[in-house]
């Protein structure tokens, strides 16, 4: 059994930053990641990092923009932590050598981004995430932090006390891709989940193939609540054929969106009379799809993003990568013609419920980055706010798990007295009523009072070994790729930008059917050498849970807030819905409940206002 103080699962920006922080605080750290760190999808982030660095800007303005952008569903203490600490974290990256774009005076450049009242998006060309990822990995190499790359974490080793708030996490069990070995990793101080996005639940997404929501699904099955899962961001500018992202930086620098009639529709059709192309992402995505649905789309599918007027010099200086992406993945020369774009799944605002130090309600279990929900994005994330989240909360969680005293959290994880039980009307039963092999309960498989931390890890190891053998031993059945495709299709058709009750219910039926088919799933490749089919089969199991959480949350929230638009409910209902949708898994069936959003910050309360751009 491997043994460390801290195990970090996932090695993108959040994982790397938390590993560095934990190690600096004195912990013995290992990272376990299904890819090599530099393959992580943080590398695909393009636009930038919001940080109030300059005269005329301050963290309060950044916090205000973020709360407004969230449509008042973010928790103010977490938002204020983000905006207060982002500047020092950006400067830390600069001190670690990150190749930011520069102004004439040699200082790091900033540009305008959607929903921001000040041009505070710090960037490195249109490849900011690539530079951030490599800079952080360089620091991990420098510190000699151990990395188990191409090890896929199968499950958490958690006790199974009846109340999730009483449970504790003692490690993880992982599968080595190269050899097929299943091994246990005991964590003396704690486990940090930093597994990133879940975009593979959709079929048109900017996310990588590896973004299958593994951390969210594992934490959920260990009893940790997930928060605001229905809040999915659809980015307004993705390439139609592949879903490849075209940075908001294009619009930040002055790029313009046109419909098929050549209208600058954001202004001319009144979607965002003040900010136009730089309205927040949910607003622009809905505007584009409305244009297409009303017959003003190009080829009934997309709109045009034009940056030619910016001139070659400026484009090459600040957006060069966009020229390569448009050429390689859509065959379009951005200097000569407008680029076709349409909305695509991009980001999950919701995730594993944590406080502002990354702690979940399970002792010793943390989550940071896109898989977590602190919550700083609420119902809509502003462009340029994801990367600062990785570094600010990565650092906080790393320090906290290593035992540093960061004070009392203002956001509380787990069931609290002001939480409210709820119910939602679904056409099929949710979860796994047939309770297969204990997947449905917490993963320790032992009761807390009789088990030591080591036996919890050992029993998890045994169970995961059996699970892998079971998948490999079966000779016939369903193949995971068919199930995954069915889930992606129904989510894309029914749980997209525009949502209506009947379609959401249809999605739940489809997910239920997919889940039933998964009972017969098998792995055809008998090899224990680099068996990617086995890993994908387990990922698909995670996607089933993710799809269900998103859809049931979307059905529960009968209002229109941020990214969540409901046909039957066209207004934001502040009297009823200034609260988070929580889903937690108990004995095979999901339970839904609500928890008030925390709008009270350090010095003021962010009163909900009409959100116009």
């Amino acid at each position: 059994m491997h043994e460390y103080d801290v195990i970090v699962v996932g090695a993108g920006g959040a994982g790397l930053r938390s590993a560095i922080a934990a190690q600096e605080a004195g912990a013995d750290v290992a990272m376990v990641t299904k890819l090599h760190p530099v393959r992580s999808h943080t590398g695909a982030a393009e636009g930038g990092i919001n940080a109030a660095l300059r005269d005329g800007d301050d963290w309060e303005m950044h916090a205000y923009d973020t709360m407004k952008g969230s449509d008042y569903l973010a928790d103010a203490p977490a938002v204020e932590a983000l905006t207060q600490e982002s500047p020092e974290e950006v400067i830390q990256l600069e001190h670690w050598g990150m190749a930011f774009s520069r102004d004439d005076d040699g200082r790091v450049s900033q540009r305008p981004f959607g929903g921001l009242s000040f041009p505070r998006t710090t960037y490195a060309g249109a490849e900011t995430g690539h530079h951030l990822l490599h800079t952080l990995y360089e620091q991990v190499v420098k510190r000699g932090i151990e990395v188990f790359d191409e090890w896929y974490v199968l499950n958490l080793a958690t006790t199974d006390d009846a109340d999730p708030g009483e449970r504790s996490c003692h490690g993880v069990v992982a599968y080595e891709t190269a050899t097929g070995e299943v091994e246990a990793f005991r964590a003396r101080d704690g486990v940090i989940l930093a597994t990133g996005g879940l975009g593979q639940v959709y079929d048109h997404t900017t996310n990588a193939v590896a973004n299958t929501g593994d951390g969210v699904a594992m934490a959920y099955r260990a009893g940790v609540p997930v928060e605001d899962m229905e809040m999915i961001q659809f980015h307004p500018t993705t390439l139609p054929s592949t879903g490849v992202l075209i940075s908001e930086g294009v619009r930040g620098e002055g790029g313009i969106l046109y419909n098929d009639d050549g209208e600058r529709f954001l202004f001319e059709r009144g979607y965002a009379n003040n900010d136009g192309e730089l309205a927040s992402r949910d607003v622009v995505s809905r505007a584009e799809l409305t244009e297409v649905n009303e017959g003003r789309g190009i080829e009934d599918e997309y709109v045009h993003l034009d940056m030619r007027h910016l001139g070659e010099e400026r484009i090459v200086d600040r957006l060069e990568n966009i020229l390569h992406l448009a050429e390689d993945f859509e065959g379009v020369d951005g200097l000569e013609e407008p680029m076709p774009v349409k909305p695509g799944q991009h980001y999950a605002m919701g995730g594993i419920e944590t406080d502002e130090f990354g702690q979940t309600c399970v002792d010793g279990l943390y989550a940071v980055g896109e898989c977590a929900c602190a919550s700083v994005h609420g119902a809509n994330r502003l462009g340029g706010n994801a990367l600062p989240e990785l570094i600010v909360f990565g650092k906080r969680a790393g320090r906290h798990v290593a035992g540093e005293d960061l004070g009392d959290p203002q956001v509380t994880a787990g069931w609290t007295p002001d939480a409210e039980a709820a119910s939602v009307d679904t056409p099929v039963s949710l979860g796994e009523p047939w309770a297969t092999r204990g997947d449905a309960v917490a993963d320790g498989g032992a009761t807390a009072d009789t088990a030591t931390a080591t036996t919890v890890v050992e029993r998890t190891l045994e169970r995961e070994r059996e699970r892998v053998e079971r998948l490999r031993d079966r000779d016939e059945g369903t193949q995971h790729a068919d199930i995954r495709a069915a889930v992606q299709r129904t989510m894309t058709e029914n749980v997209n930008v525009f949502r209506e009750e009947s379609a959401l219910k249809e999605a739940l039926v489809d997910i239920h059917a997919a889940r039933e088919r998964y009972r017969d799933v098998y792995v055809a490749d008998p090899s224990s050498t680099y068996n990617t089919e086995l890993i994908q089969t387990i990922e698909t199991r995670n996607l089933l849970d993710i799809a269900e959480m998103i859809t049931v949350g979307a059905l529960a929230r009968d209002e229109f807030r941020g990214a969540h638009w409901r046909k039957e409910h066209q207004e934001r209902k502040d009297d009823e819905w200034l609260k988070h949708t929580m889903v937690s898994w108990s004995d095979g069936s999901p339970e839904i409940w609500y928890k008030p959003a925390v709008l009270r910050g350090e010095a003021k309360t962010y009163e909900p206002k009409e959100r116009s751009y």
């Binding site: 400067i91 520069r102 490599h134 800079t135 193939v209 879903g243 099929v428 059917a513 490749d525």
Partner: protein
């Protein structure tokens, strides 16, 4: 606090459901049948479309050290229906999902930034996701990167590549940080421009695989690692002292002087990094610095 509809009595807000006398199981059954019907129709539609499509012929390298029939390397043929804009990676995914689930290759981002899917396609190192099928002659021959140990099918062992990358102290070092807490180091636009292309490396290993020198000298640092050293050595923020040490590292026996300027690395680099030029520039810097200390 259950949210389930397992108990029909809780369905008060749905008039239709109230009137519904079916049990939960029966309703699930009907819903499931409908879902399956939709699924069957979709599959049929796809099959029709697939049958009509033009097919691309792939010849793909196969090897698995422990599976009977694959221990001797062989080539498998796949005929993949072509869609506009289809890349080599798309074709491999199709072949895997539709024909042979054991077909194994690394891939993740699909947009030439994660560097996972460098392959040897029609005799040249390329990223699968960045290569259009329509630019290739048929049959399209897809092999793992040459000069690296094959783990299985198209997957090669990257450990040696990573070791070389990590041997050049690939992290920023400086002795001179600004005082103020929120004070950044200054860097001129010109200097940032000079290191720009070198910072684009995605560690795909295409360059190393194309390099004859690396093939013959296993200890040669290789183009990617030297480029990484260049990225720091030329960064004015590190200062002269650190630069001297960096030049010593790349001047070692298996460093820059091994490069025979064949430009193969530069030709295959998917991020258009002028690798050979960077190596040459470091040679010049090393000479300059040696003269200075004479």
């Amino acid at each position: 606090m259950s949210t389930q509809r397992q108990n029909p009595e809780t369905e008060t807000d749905n008039a239709e459901a109230e009137a519904d006398t079916e049990t939960e199981t029966e309703r699930n059954e009907v819903a499931r049948r409908r879902a399956e019907q939709r699924e069957r129709e979709r599959v049929k539609e796809n099959e029709r479309a697939t049958a009509d499509a033009e097919r691309y012929h792939l010849k793909v390298f196969r090897y698995d050290p422990e599976v009977e029939g694959k221990q001797e390397p062989r080539f498998d043929d796949f005929h993949v229906p072509y869609e506009q804009g289809m890349t080599v990676l798309d074709a491999l995914i199709y072949a895997r999902d539709e024909f042979d689930v054991s077909l194994t290759f690394r891939h993740s981002c699909r947009q030439a930034i994660c560097g996972s899917d460098a392959l040897f396609v029609n005799g040249r190192q390329r990223l699968g996701c960045q290569t259009q099928l329509s630019d290739l002659d048929q049959p399209v021959r897809i092999e793992p990167l040459p000069h690296q140990e094959v783990v299985k099918d198209l997957v090669v062992d990257m450990e040696h590549f990573y070791d070389q990358m990590e041997s050049v102290e690939p992290y920023f070092q400086t002795t001179d940080r600004p005082e103020g807490e929120l004070e950044e180091q200054r860097q001129s636009r010109e200097n940032r421009e000079q290191i720009k292309t070198s910072t684009r490396c995605i560690w795909c290993g295409a360059c190393m695989s194309s390099c004859n020198v690396a093939a013959g000298d296993n200890e040669y640092l290789g183009p990617a690692a030297i480029n990484k050293a260049y990225r720091f050595a030329m960064d004015e923020r590190e200062g002269e002292e650190v630069k001297q040490r960096r030049l010593e590292i790349i001047e070692q026996e298996h460093g820059v002087w091994r490069c025979q300027t064949q430009f193969s690395c530069t030709e295959v680099c998917p991020k258009d990094i002028p690798l050979t030029e960077h190596i040459q520039e470091l040679k010049r810097e090393a000479v300059k610095s040696n003269l200075k200390f004479w």
